[in-house]
Symmetry: C2
Subunit: 335 residues, 2 copies
DNA sequence: TTGTACGCGTTATCAC
DNA sequence: GTGATAACGCGTACAA
């Protein structure tokens, strides 16, 4: 049978409460006592029982990743990042897939009734779901937001997506493009407005008029990208470059271009956002914005843990972006 | 404060043991009593406390997905499938990423010392890791295998990959291909040998001699596919069709073909295996074998749960495959 | 068929 | 700075 706290106490010659103190880094323990306890812990290979801890301590030592409908790649990256932080801080990771619309809240509360995580990490579009946020506040559940539309008053992690896009579009402009189209993301994501804002801002800076016909809606999905790309390329005067709000939609542009016999980048320049694996795998390799998604998962988790430790702990961290110029963009052909 | 089992007992006018019986579907409870208890449960919105349950019952009501280095898409699908089954059977899902080689066992045992899952689902190449299997047997931990090299004596889920590949290659042969190359998977995977076996078997059936020069090694990664594709296309007499052992490597073939100015399928037919999202997203859409990965995760989990319930429960389930003929394969050009 | 009493391995309250 | 002892909420021999 595995050793219990009581065994450790016996070996160390102290009471179980003292062992508990040492294990939980509580004050009021003599250094010498602490060492004796730690020695006993090591000698017995003692591991605290999580269930007992949770039961007595009113917390589960687990964090939930709550999501409803993100892209698989994005989710996987965030998850890996969280896993790393959870591992480092001895937390468990709980997956919290929730339904959309009116299913969100019931699913979320069911998650809490069962697993009782000590806090949650929110990813878009849930990050900005007022219903969810209100519920969490009301229940006084600590949460950390990834890419929230409004960073003020929240902890978590974000990136300056607008600036990133400004740089990306500036690259296209520098190559000589002037008819640059944009496939937007879904309205519910802050990413949608930031990336669109960056697009407009860059055009303005370049002295290019904003043409609403060159901006179409997408849903971040490959399929929505197909529709959007077709709409753009059916234009009387089609764009020479297309900036898709994420890589999946950019991949869809590749497909539509291929079907129409257009060569990228010779006949059409394409760029995306996120730098998911597909960006480097499709041919020609996609020019895009690198987002350190995995790190963002790690950071969001660390901030959450600090918030759990202290009511005012944690902050909103801004991570760096990078424009990755690859093979899918070049100067437009002369007419 | 949330209701406890004692509150339910009070409302139903029975003892807590009876409530426990009802909740755990134990026998020896009158139907009428059972109903009274259930009514009380519903009325109070009672949810058992998982920690207390685990502590008293010596089990965690959680299952672990153990993996070391699978493709992201594959992992995500399996995970989603498991999540579904876990949800349905009120289990929690624990992620168990473990290191490779000598790190595997320590990581695995650490997972158990912390989270104590009631069972684990293994995916390749861990499914066939003798060290892992021995350890699990020794610890008497129930496990379920996905695509094990040797299905006998194990429970879990598999697919007849050899037959699937035979059908896939037969399709190429029917189109007139005779120089068909194969990029193999990593040796540690059963998938590597099954797919290779199907390849050879189909050639034999078609009366085509096996040419070792047309078979190169890959690692299932995109990068390894690049190397392999280059080797194949550098051949004095290059193949007219390439069967990559998975979709990621097939995507790499697309990239290399693109770089060399070869058009798919006009100049080269390509097919893969798995039907990951990328298969439908790249241009032209990839001919591949559909594997119901998510369902396989669900099935493996269900079998595991049966094994947990009964020492001899669960079995090895074989799921159906399907060859998806899309745009990447056509008759080879005449010389 | 139903109920009592104890144990699971921690944390936390208080006294010392 | 340290230690008895009572929770924490549920499962389960054992008794009835």
């Amino acid at each position: 049978m595995r050793s219990r706290i009581e065994d450790v106490a016996a070996v160390a010659g102290v009471s179980i409460k003292t062992v508990s103190r040492v294990l939980n880094h509580e004050p009021n323990v003599r250094a010498e006592t602490r060492e004796r306890v730690m020695a006993a812990v090591t000698r017995l290979g003692y591991k605290p029982n999580l269930s007992a801890r949770s039961l007595a301590g009113q917390r589960s030592y687990s964090l939930a990743l709550v999501y409803n409908n993100p892209s698989r790649n994005y989710l996987m990256e965030i998850q890996n990042g969280m896993l790393e932080a959870c591992h480092a801080h001895h937390y468990n990771l709980i997956l919290g897939p929730v339904g959309i619309g009116r299913h969100t809240l019931p699913d979320l509360s069911a998650l809490f009734e069962n697993s009782r995580p000590d806090g949650v990490v929110l990813i878009p579009p849930l990050t900005d779901d007022a219903v969810v946020l209100d519920w969490l506040e009301e229940q006084e559940i600590p949460y950390s937001s990834i890419a929230p539309r409004d960073p003020d008053g929240h902890i978590g992690v974000r990136m300056d997506e607008t600036t990133a896009v400004v740089e990306l579009i500036a690259h296209l402009v520098a190559q000589g493009h002037r008819r640059i189209a944009h496939i937007k993301g879904p309205r519910a994501h802050g990413a949608c407005q930031w990336r669109h804002a960056g697009y407009r801002q860059a055009l303005r800076a370049a002295g290019i008029d904003y043409d609403p016909a060159l901006v179409v809606n997408g849903q971040f999905s490959f399929e929505s990208g197909i529709t959007a790309a077709n709409a753009l390329l059916d234009l009387p005067e089609p764009p020479t470059a297309i900036f898709a709000a994420n890589d999946d939609m950019a991949a869809a542009v590749y497909r539509v271009a291929g079907q129409r016999g257009l060569r990228i980048p010779r006949d059409l320049s394409v760029c995306g956002f996120d730098d998911t694996p597909i960006a480097g795998h499709i041919f020609p390799a996609l020019t895009t914005v690198r987002q350190p998604t995995s790190s963002m998962g790690t950071i969001a988790t660390e901030q959450l843990i600090e918030r759990i430790r202290a009511a005012k702990g944690g902050r909103m961290v801004t991570v760096d972006h990078a424009v990755l110029v690859r093979e899918s963009t070049q100067a437009p052909r002369r007419r």
